[in-house]
């Protein structure tokens, strides 16, 4: 019995049906060939410029996220299950946001308090009572999933603000198709290339200008932002302008961009800047990334913003714990995707349990994100744990705890052979007036170090192409 569920070898060491072609391919391909292909992939990524910026190291400010050439595979049934669960979950998250910024039925039902919502750092008071297009707040959501067994998928985190990584999903596929055309011919893989068109359709559904073509733009903080490549990639793929704050101007509560032909009206902004920077008249006064007056134009309904300001309310740890309940409350359905069991230290019984089991648990700040202020019990020294316990007792409501998950592994090229490395998955869920769409797949992140559970790119994580098989598994 393995300690972790391996997605190729399953629990018993037998190659699972979804991986049959990959296993055969790995068996017949010498490591030297794989190494050559890996180097070629790296060259391709560099040439295209799909890099992320790093400022701390000096010198070269652009680095590649390591790419692993062995794809991660999900079969059609697994994907159908995930897709149903994702649609359900994101629908409930959007209903929650509309409720929190509207009537607050969830407070009336006693599930959350007004105070909790009003004091949340991501709560945006300027959004209270504002009518947003189609009542949708998080148009582009990235839901982080992990797997621990053949039928066990868990939602680790909901990202409802400006989740990134979709360009890697698309470029990883493009590079794989270029490097291994014969493998695609052998395995029926569902395409992901329609994502930009789906995104554009979602964004266009947010506006109905009379008598003119809706003008959609992508708003970026600029070329020194770490996700700039993705911003330009998406704008290019959608065929829309990539604008910066200096390009847009608000006149008479309408948004325009400066063009070679004078000012041109903008109807939908896919903004990749944080709430704080959208409008210096409303949020941070020193921001030059957004445009003065943008929020007023938005409140007047003259421009749509995706995602809506304040959507971050739906993605912190305390709200996370409520999501299964929200699904029941708003949709009257049983949740399809499971949450990771979470102890809310605000609760006395939970706190006692957490303090007793610190060496097995991961403790996170309720309102933190990105792994800051986190204690990973099994990897911490007793001294660190004791110090953390002290903090925890002082302010228990600021923390939640979860078990350390036995993340599944996938075969990953480790220089001389394929070896199991831990992975997670971030599918991208699009919600517009025309419904919810998800392209089959997502971004698989992989912890490249043997035994590591940290898939984050800033800590040595890489990415893989994610293959969702056609129903028959054969080359359709």
């Amino acid at each position: 019995m393995r300690e972790f569920f391996d997605e190729m070898y399953g629990a018993d060491g037998e190659v699972r049906a979804a991986y049959a072609a990959i296993a055969a391919w790995l068996a017949e391909t010498p490591p030297a060939v794989l190494e050559t292909k890996r180097e070629e992939a790296e060259r391709l990524f560099r040439r295209v410029g799909i890099t992320f910026a790093v400022y701390t190291e000096g010198g070269d400010t652009e680095r590649l996220i390591p790419f692993d050439i062995i794809p991660r595979v999900l079969d059609a049934d697994e994907w159908a299950f995930l897709e149903r669960g994702l649609v359900q979950r994101v629908t409930a998250l959007n209903r929650f946001l509309a409720d929190a910024y509207g009537e607050r039925e969830i407070v009336k039902a006693g599930k959350l308090t007004d105070d909790y919502i009003d004091t949340h750092p991501a709560y945006c008071a300027q959004m209270q009572g504002v009518t947003v297009p189609s009542g949708i707040y998080t148009h582009i959501a990235g839901i982080d999933l992990v797997r621990t067994g053949v039928n066990d998928f868990y939602v680790l985190e909901d990202n409802c603000r400006t989740p990134s990584g979709v360009s890697y999903m698309l470029e990883n596929r493009a590079v794989m198709m270029r490097l291994f055309p014969e493998l695609f011919a052998r395995v029926g893989v569902a395409p992901v290339a329609r994502y930009p068109q789906d995104l554009l359709a979602t964004l266009r559904s947010l506006t109905t200008p009379i008598g003119e073509e809706p003008c959609v733009v992508v708003l970026t903080p600029g070329q020194f932002n770490s996700a700039y490549y993705e911003h330009s990639f998406l704008a290019d793929e959608m065929g829309v302008e990539l604008v910066e704050g200096v390009d847009i101007i608000v006149r008479d509560k309408k948004v325009y961009m400066r063009t070679t032909d004078g000012l041109k009206r903008v109807h939908v902004i896919y903004r990749r800047i944080d709430d704080d920077f959208l409008d210096p008249l409303v949020f941070r006064k020193d921001s030059v990334l957004g445009a003065p007056g943008l929020m007023e134009a938005y409140r007047e309904g003259n421009v749509a913003l995706a995602n809506a300001p304040g959507a971050g309310l739906a993605d912190d740890k305390a709200v996370y714990m409520q999501v299964p309940e929200m699904i029941r409350f708003y949709l009257g359905e049983e949740p399809i995707l499971k949450n990771v069991p979470t102890w809310d230290c605000a609760n006395e019984g939970a706190l006692a349990y957490v303090l007793d089991h610190l060496d097995e648990l991961v403790v996170k700040e309720t309102r933190g994100s990105g792994g800051y202020g986190m204690l990973v019990g099994p990897h911490a020294t007793k001294k660190t744990r004791d110090a953390f316990a002290k903090k925890l007792r002082l302010n228990p409501s600021a923390y939640v705890a979860q078990p350390t998950l036995a993340l599944s592994t996938c075969p990953t090229f480790a220089g001389d052979a394929a070896a199991g490395r831990h992975v997670d998955l971030r599918p991208f869920v699009l919600s517009g007036a025309n419904g919810v769409r998800i392209v089959p797949g997502g971004l698989t992140r992989v912890a490249l170090q043997d035994g590591s559970l940290v898939v984050n790119s800033s800590q040595g994580g890489g990415t893989k192409d994610t293959w969702v098989l056609h129903r028959n598994g054969g080359g359709r």
Partner: protein, 311 residues
């Protein structure tokens, strides 16, 4: 299109063209080694690139090695070849969406290669090879935009940048060397030194062969001036550049529903002079005066284009 995109494309093209012109300028200066005063030759190359004063602030004397490095890899020189490429990539990256993938890859690949260059690549022994690389890079870029860009605004701004920069470079190179082209006492004699010097003017714009094809006679200064100012066949002549500039501006006006500005008037006036001008009149007015006027008016045109489209 976004005004900022027009600006980025225009300057992307200008930086790539400037880089290419610098490579030719350095090669021309090198080819004069041993013929005339080397220091003089390099000083005029620095002047043509407009960085002679900056050079003097940095170094005490003009030596071939120092001057070549200053023009090619010099970090202190904002318009050295390497800095032009760096700027071009910043322009390209700022407006990735306005470039075709091939254009971006040409610039980015060149930039990646440039990061691997060391001081050694700019040493006298290896400089020629490095300059070849620069010219290949610029050819790759212009090939990429010619073959892959839609013939829309984006394209006309790239072309506009290319030819405005080229016109400026040609006028500057000629102006630095104008004294060589003036009628002199010895010009009837056709001394060996004169021959080399006039040829060096041609070499700086890669036009030695072109001269032979057009004139089929020995190198004469007024022909050299005519070739580079008035001849339409010569792709780097002021006339050829301005023909392209007016064409690009006309295309842009058409795209914008006939909207024209001072840029169109100014470019049209300069192009008409070049089309109907005579070299004898130019020498009569004064070669230096004429060239200085073209340099100033080309700069003015750049400002007017920016006023009309880029803000």
């Amino acid at each position: 299109m976004l005004s900022r995109a027009a600006d980025a494309l225009f300057w992307l093209a200008r930086n790539m063209e400037r880089m290419d012109n610098l490579a030719r300028l350095i090669e021309a200066a090198q080819s004069m080694a041993g013929v005339s005063s080397e220091a003089e030759e390099w000083r005029s190359a620095l002047a043509a690139a407009g960085v002679d004063e900056l050079y003097d602030e940095t170094y005490n004397a003009v030596t071939p090695d120092l001057a070549a490095r200053f023009l090619s890899s010099g970090g202190a020189n904002p318009s050295s070849i390497i800095n032009c490429l760096e700027n071009a990539r910043v322009n390209a990256r700022a407006m990735r969406t306005a470039l075709t993938r091939d254009m971006w890859e040409a610039v980015n690949q060149g930039w990646i290669e440039s990061r691997k260059l060391t001081e050694n690549n700019f040493s006298p022994a290896l400089l020629a090879e490095t300059l070849d690389w620069v010219r290949t890079l610029s050819t790759r870029f212009s090939g990429a935009y010619e073959t892959t860009m839609l013939r829309n605004e984006n394209y006309w701004f790239v072309r506009l940048g290319t030819f405005l920069e080229r016109a400026d470079n040609t006028a500057r190179i000629l102006d630095v060397k104008y004294h060589l082209l003036l009628p002199q006492e010895s010009s009837g004699v056709g001394g060996m030194l004169d021959y080399y010097q006039w040829t060096s003017v041609l070499r700086a714009v890669s036009a030695v062969r072109a001269y032979q094809w057009v004139y089929r006679e020995e190198v004469r200064p007024w022909n050299v001036a005519e070739l580079m100012i008035l001849r339409t066949e010569m792709p780097r002549s002021l006339r050829a550049c301005y023909d392209h500039i007016t064409y690009c501006l006309d295309q842009l006006a058409e795209i914008h529903g006939g909207k024209r500005g001072e840029a169109h008037r100014l470019a049209g006036a300069i192009a008409a002079e070049l089309r109907f001008g005579r070299i004898s009149d130019i020498f009569q007015t004064g070669l230096h005066e004429t060239l200085t006027t073209y340099i100033d008016r080309t700069k003015e045109l750049g400002d007017q284009i920016s006023n009309l489209y880029m803000r």
